[in-house]
Amino acid sequence: MYVEFLGIPRQRAGLSELEVEASTLGQLLDTLAVQCPALNELMSADGLHPSIVANLNGDQFVSDLKTPLAENDRLLILSADAGG
């Protein structure tokens, strides 16, 4: 599956997308913490920092670390504050 980064997460990761293997949101965040250490400041013990959100395939916003992920999914990670 692919992770897409937008806004601050993109800036911290230094790339716009990354291919990873993960079957849940929790696994994916653990993987990102290793592969992109700069993203750690955007994470908390419960998942993402409140200023960051995750969205599955442009449809549903997800926060439950047990959220299942499929091989063809695209998870978007972006600043929670979308407006301005």
């Binding site: 800036q11 409140p50 200023s51 442009g58 549903q60 972006l78 600043s79 929670a80």
Partner: protein, 578 residues
Amino acid sequence: MAHGYHGSYLRIDVTTGVADGVRLSDRVLRECIGGTGLGARLLLDAGAVAADPLSPESPLVFAFSPLVGSPLTTSAKFAVVSKSPLTGRFNDSLASSGFAIAGKRAGCDALVLVGRAPSLSVLVIDDGRVRLEPADDVRGDTCAAAEEKLRGRLGADYRIASIGPAGERGVRYATISHDGRHAGRGGSGTVLGSKNIKAIAVRGTQRTEWAHPRELTELSRDLSKRSFGPATAKYRELGTATNLLTFNRFGTLPTRNFQSGTFDEAEHLSPEQLSVAHSRARASCVACTIGCEHIYSLGDRAVRLEYESLFALGSLCGVGDGDTVLRASRRCDELGIDTISTGGTIAFAMECVERGLLDEPWLRFGSGDALLKAIELIGSREGIGDMLAEGSRCAAAIIGRDSIAFAPQVKGLEIPGYEPRGLQTMALGFAVGARGADHNRSGAYDVDFSDKVDRRHATLESVRHAIDTEDKAALMDSLILCKFLRRVLEDFYGESAAMLRAVTGWDVTADELRETARRIVAAKRQFNLLAGWTLDEDTLPERFLSTPLPNDPAASLSRERLEELVAEYHRQRGWSDA
């Protein structure tokens, strides 16, 4: 009298140049706080709700707040409140600058302007003493040029809010500018221009005291510290312009007058791409620790660029050239016109040309030259610019042939950069907004970008979220604090109450502020009711209710669904007169 206030406002008749101090009671101040809340109250008390907003008797209020001048970050703000010449409804536009601090030091909590000066004038307020001076030497000047000349004439310690050439010519979405910041939406600058006032110059020495200085210092220090954290990193490091790619990815970036939610050339307009050709610097408003302003070089000058300007003058007009969008944004600033209404009205005209409803073949989507030419014509009110200077709703009435169905406005105010079909809590916020479609009076997009709702399928559950964001915005606009702090405040009402207690000495609580917020929203609606509001105004243009979003057919909002949401909104508000 409560600390943090002077306890009076200055009523200035610019026909004669005579000013009177009018007392404000503690009760009124506590009920309204300041900014939008106080402005709405003063506007209602002044009467003239039915008057033409550009008539001499229609008041224009500059409202400060108890927090202005305090060490609380982002508190140097003022609200300009009047009946809008664009919508005929309530309008409040806010700006951050030293004008707020200087205005309050003049010894009042608000300025209320009525009348019409005999000739174009500068209103000078020197520590509460008022006089009119000729403005012949700044006639036709840009906002920045007028400000510079007047500070040279009057003294560097004056803070000057001015209109540009567009405000002098009655463009209905003219702004009031100070230090490059604009009270931008709804035509506040048009109202000031109608009073024959080119600029207001103010200085003063009268400070207010804080009830609990030590507590206020601690609160301010803590708030400033938190304002440097992750909750504001987006604004500080990338600026609001970064929204463009996010919205494009979600298919909610208004493009070619809302005919699409994606723009092929969006990458060209990203902050990262713009920074390649134009060096970027950061700046802050006065008394702000966030530093959200991102200023791009353009030749030997600079231009501030926000997401709303970027979308309105970029994707909405189909223009993907960053250099052109920067030029267009700068020109709007110089002329003193709202970039959202400018872009929205031009994009509407471009679609009219595309449909054969308007015989202006040069005015095509994607043409940067056409965009820049149209802005000049609006600013000078020449040619088609005279019609476009009236806004998209009025232009649609002139063009006819059902073009109102795709005029991008609610109550006459052009829609900001959020596609309503793909962001349906925001769609409700737009529909019911007192000043029309606006993202600063309803932050419902925050809800759409969360797991609280399905952004493509609003339900009755969405309504309470829309109300919650509208109430919070009303309180922030009255305290006044910048909305970019909203995620910094973990206990929004509780922390707001603590700040207000430290400044005023009132025993105000979170629950009281919840009621205050609702009262302020109701006051804006009360103004609209008296001005002739009817329920059919709380809607969206036909395009959004009859056609799914072309790039995302699942994003569909029927008229019946929106009417249900609006009815539930009125029910939850307790408004039975709809």
